[in-house]
Structures are given as C-alpha cells and as structure tokens.
Amino acid sequence: MDTDTALPRKLEVVQVDASRWLIPRQGAMRVDGLIFADQRMMSDLRGDEAIRQVANVACLPGIVGRSIGMPDIHWGYGFAIGGVAAFDPEAGGVISPGGVGYDINCGVRLLRSDLRESEVRPQLKRLMDQVMRDVPAGVGSHHTRLRLSDGELEAVLMRGAAWAVDRHMGVAEDLDHIESGGCLPGAVPGDVSARARQRGRDQLGTVGSGNHFIEVGFVGEVFDERAASALGLRVGTVTVLIHSGSRGLGHQVCTDFLDLMLDAASRYGIDLPDRQLACAPLTSPEGERYLGAMAAAANFAFANRQVMAHLTREAFARVLGRSWEELGMGLVYDVAHNNAKWEVHSVGGMDRRLCVHRKGATRAFPPGHPELPDVFRDVGQPVLIPGDMGRYSYVLVGTEAAYTETFGSTCHGAGRLMSRTKAKKSVQRAGRDLRREFGERGIEVRAASFATVAEEIPEAYKDVAEVVDVVDRAGIGRKVAKLLPLGVLKG
C-alpha cells in the first residue's frame, strides 16, 4: 500500500487544547492519532514526517485507543520517535520490530547519593577520568574482561539484571528499582541469531555511541518534596544518569526480524504504509518468535545498565575513598523507552491485555499500580527524562491521567531538532572548541570521539524543559526534580 493512497496527501490535524492535537481518523487509519505538543512544537513538526508517521501507525491492524505522539516526537523510521501504540491480540493486533526500534529496551537509570555537589567538584576531573577508564564508551566499545561464554550469554538473555546481581555487580535491592524487575518474561535465547550474539558478546557493560552517555550531576531543584523524598533525592546531592541499551545484540535482533516480518506481513495480508512497519499478528508464530527474541535482547539491555552502574559505583568508590554503600549510591530507578510489553489497560470500559509499543516513550505507571514496589506505591513510577548534554534533565512520576489516556506512557527525552550532519557542520563552521565551552560552564566532558559531541550539541535538541512542561500541563507526568550536569561521558 502506498502512503499517498492510504492517507490523504494533506492530513487533517485539529487542536484540542494547549497541549493536545488530534489527527481524526481518515483514509486507512483505524483509530485517531493524538499528539501532545504546544503551539511552537507543532509548528516545528509541520515540515517533518512525524505527524504522518503517527497516522501510518494508526493504519495497523488491531490498534486500539489512539496512535499517540509525545511532545519529544520527531521523524523516525516506521514509527515516529516518541510514539506509543497498543494492539489487541484478540482483534488481530500486531507486533512490529520497527515499533520497538533497533536499540531494544534502550533506557535510562538514575543513581542517587548522599554526596554534596561541593564535595565532588574538586575531584571531578579525576572522577570523570576514572569513569572513562572503567566504562568503555564509543563505537565498537567492548570489554576485554567481560567477554561472555555461550552459557553466560544465555543466562544474561534469560535473567537480565539479576544475572549481574548474582555476580556481585549490584545488590538484590536494585532489582526492585528497575522496570519489570530488570527482566522481561518469555525470553527465548534460541531465537537470538548467532550474528546477534557475536555483535553483543563483548559489549555488555558498555555505553556505545550516539546519544548514549553517563552523566554525573546533582539535584538542582525539587518541585515535589514528598515524591523527591520517596525517591531519595535532595537538592544539592550528586546523581548519576546512565543512558544505553542492548548494543549490537539488540540492533541485530531487530534487523533479523524485520526481514521475517516483511514476509509475514505479506503472507497475512497486512497492508504496510511503510515497510519499516513490517509486522505480524501477535498470535502468529512469527509474532511469538519476535516477542521471545525481543525479551532476550531487553534482558541484555537491563544487564548492560546494571553492569555499567556497578562499574560507575566502583569508580566513585575508588576516587572518593569510600564504598559506594557509604556514599549512599542507591538505585533510584531504571526505565526503558524502546520496547513492546504485555499490559492490562481499560479500553471502552473493559480490561484488555494489550501489547503496548513504546518507541522513544517511557512507561509512567500511576500511584497504586500493582507493578510498582512499595517504596513508590504512593507517589507513582519514577520517570527519567534526560535533556541534551549541557542543560538539564528531569525526574517525573507517572500519573493516573497517563494510565487512562496514553496507556501509562509519557515522553522520553528532549527530541532532536537538528540533524546530526547539520549540528556537526555548524560546529565546524563556527570553529567552536566544545571541550573549552563545556569547561567554562563547569562541565567536564569525556568522549571517545568529539565528533559525537559535535553531533550532540544542546542546540541540536529541543529544550527538554518545554517538553516536560507539556506533559506536566497535560497531566501525563508530574515534575519531581531537575538535575544539572557536572560531568558527561559520551561515546
């Protein structure tokens, strides 16, 4: 099916309120689309493919509710980045690897500490050097000490973060502070190809490249004292944000299954508005196989962030001369923003078991949700929203409104405004010395490649404060705290 014939050339978009824009069902759309954005963000999206991509997803079989775009939405491939869609297996609903993305279960975790910013600043250069030595970053980054045997890799794919905790990389309490306990059920390592294993085998515990990072920062502002206290966050205390995913292993799983899904879509008579939306019914053998392989890759991502957190805690302990437990470096939470998960949601007044795709969107369960550990039962699930490298990041909590309106989802980051090429060229043209610029702002940057830093300049992104304000105003997330950067390790 060609996009131009499936949907009108000019899509109708209707403003609902200051934060919501409806794409009414039109052409081959099975449900409405809904984008959360303010007026200016929506103007920026006009020349972008993202709006059409939200409409494309609304054409897929078995979609329920609405095809949703978050305020950090931008042009992706297949799904827009910042897209949420839920599918009902009993209504022919589908699973799409393109709706999860190449970096399966990419996500963010936040460590807290009792350290004051003023204690760390004098040690910051040493600390960032140590983090850079201990946590491999950059393209092709790998561990020489942590190359996994076949049996160990199998255990990682089955058990996720718990595998690392069993090997003394973290403590059991960490697992309560990870989405899904750090392990997606139903993993089938046998469906992870030899090539995927080869790509990921020595990449566990590595940052990777692109927009992935480890950021040492501190709590700059608290908006909700009660929630911040429940999360262990106090103004002026040091934090660590870690952003990475399933590395080459997840990338290859996506690649492998896209081909399988293209064939399957044709066999099951599914019209695809974009081949990157290749999919199969959730109940089909192909759909079930992808879900098993995806869960295995997701567990690799959970384990990856657990190992990196361990290495970072150890780096702090080495430089500051106290154990990480003495430094109070507990795990606040670990959220994923690229996956597809089985969840129960109310649709038309009925509870239905749905497969919720979040591609560049974060799960944001409300207070009282049974999946939340006791410590967050009253405040809601922590949601971690990194900004660009240099400005600030946010901690939010999930809300009831998110649960009812967006399948318990909210935004995931700042969202790109400028292509990587344009960002890099603008740095080169202006002859900017980024290391010095960040240094003058008191931010220690370490990078495997400064070409990556040039592509990730703050101007390349939306201001995450504006993104977060939209979700806060719309009620699909509630602001708790703002984090300011001290040092960043980039790939």
Binding site: H74, Y77, G98, D103, R195, R199, G210, G248, C254, T452
Partner: protein, 158 residues
C-alpha cells in the same frame, strides 16, 4: 547481469580519502541517509557500500597494507533490488562493525533483482568508526533506474 563486473576502488593507495563519487548524505532529523547515483547496478552497490563507510566516518580510509586484503564470498537473496541493496549494506556493516573488516571492492558474478553472488575484497580496518549505525532501515528505501542512471536512497538508524 551476465558478465562478472569488478568494482575497483575509487582511488589509488596513498591518496587522501574524499567522499565517494556519486554519494550524497541526506538530511534526516534523527538519523542519516545517503543518496547514491551510478551508471549501472554493480557500481550502485559498490558506491552505496563506500557511502556506508563514509557515514560511519572516522578511519574511513581503512587500509591496512594491500597484502592484508582478503576476499569473502557473499551470497544474498531478496525479493527486489531495493531489499537486496539493504541486505548488501547490512553485510558490509556487519563486516565493518563486528569483524573490523573494511570494504574495498566487489566482483559480482550475479546481480539481479532476486539476489547476488559477490567476491568482496576487504582489508582490516584501522581504529573504530566515529559513528555507530544500528541498522539499515527500510524507511524510504528506494532503488530506481531512469534513462540509464541508477539511483538509490537509504536511511540508516544511528
């Protein structure tokens, strides 16, 4: 294609690397794409492979010494030239990212819309690329022939 067609490197050893002929980087908000133009299909596949190396950046001049070259047999099947090009680029990416082998040139003994058989000449890559390509997407993928010129568009997920 009936006759074997050898794609030679675009430059002699020792020359300064420049962007491969017929390859232009495409703007994409989140990712990077390339548009490739060539007089025939084998040249299109060759230039697209060089374009992928260009997107990876870093040590795009891959050369270990000439005598470190080796040849790898690649056979692929696909239902269409565009899907075939995508699968071809995934092979080149896998070789570079995982095996640290940089594409130099290829000799195609079969190159049709259904599949290809190629002897791919590679050399050990120097250092790591600057960028990581997570995948070669199907989004906006196109291969067309118009008045004797082949054109392709490919978007990579970075």
């Amino acid at each position: 294609m009936d006759d074997a067609h050898v794609q030679q490197p675009d430059r002699a050893p020792g020359e300064v690397w420049s962007p491969p002929e017929g390859v232009q980087e495409l703007e994409h908000t989140a990712d990077v794409g390339i548009e490739v133009r060539a007089p025939d299909l084998s040249a299109l596949f060759h230039r697209a492979a060089l374009g992928l190396l260009q997107v990876l950046g870093g040590e795009v001049e891959p050369a270990g010494p000439l005598d470190s070259e080796r040849t790898i047999e690649v056979s692929l099947d696909a239902g269409g030239t565009d899907l075939l090009l995508s699968r071809w680029l995934r092979e080149i990416l896998f070789l570079r990212e995982t095996e640290a082998l940089a594409y130099r040139r290829a000799e195609f003994s079969r190159l049709t819309s259904d599949g290809l058989d190629a002897r791919v000449v590679v050399r050990p890559a120097k250092g790591n690329p600057e960028r990581e390509i997570k995948g070669v997407t199907y989004h906006g993928l196109a291969v067309e022939e118009d008045e004797g010129e082949w054109r392709a568009r490919i978007i990579f997920d970075l």
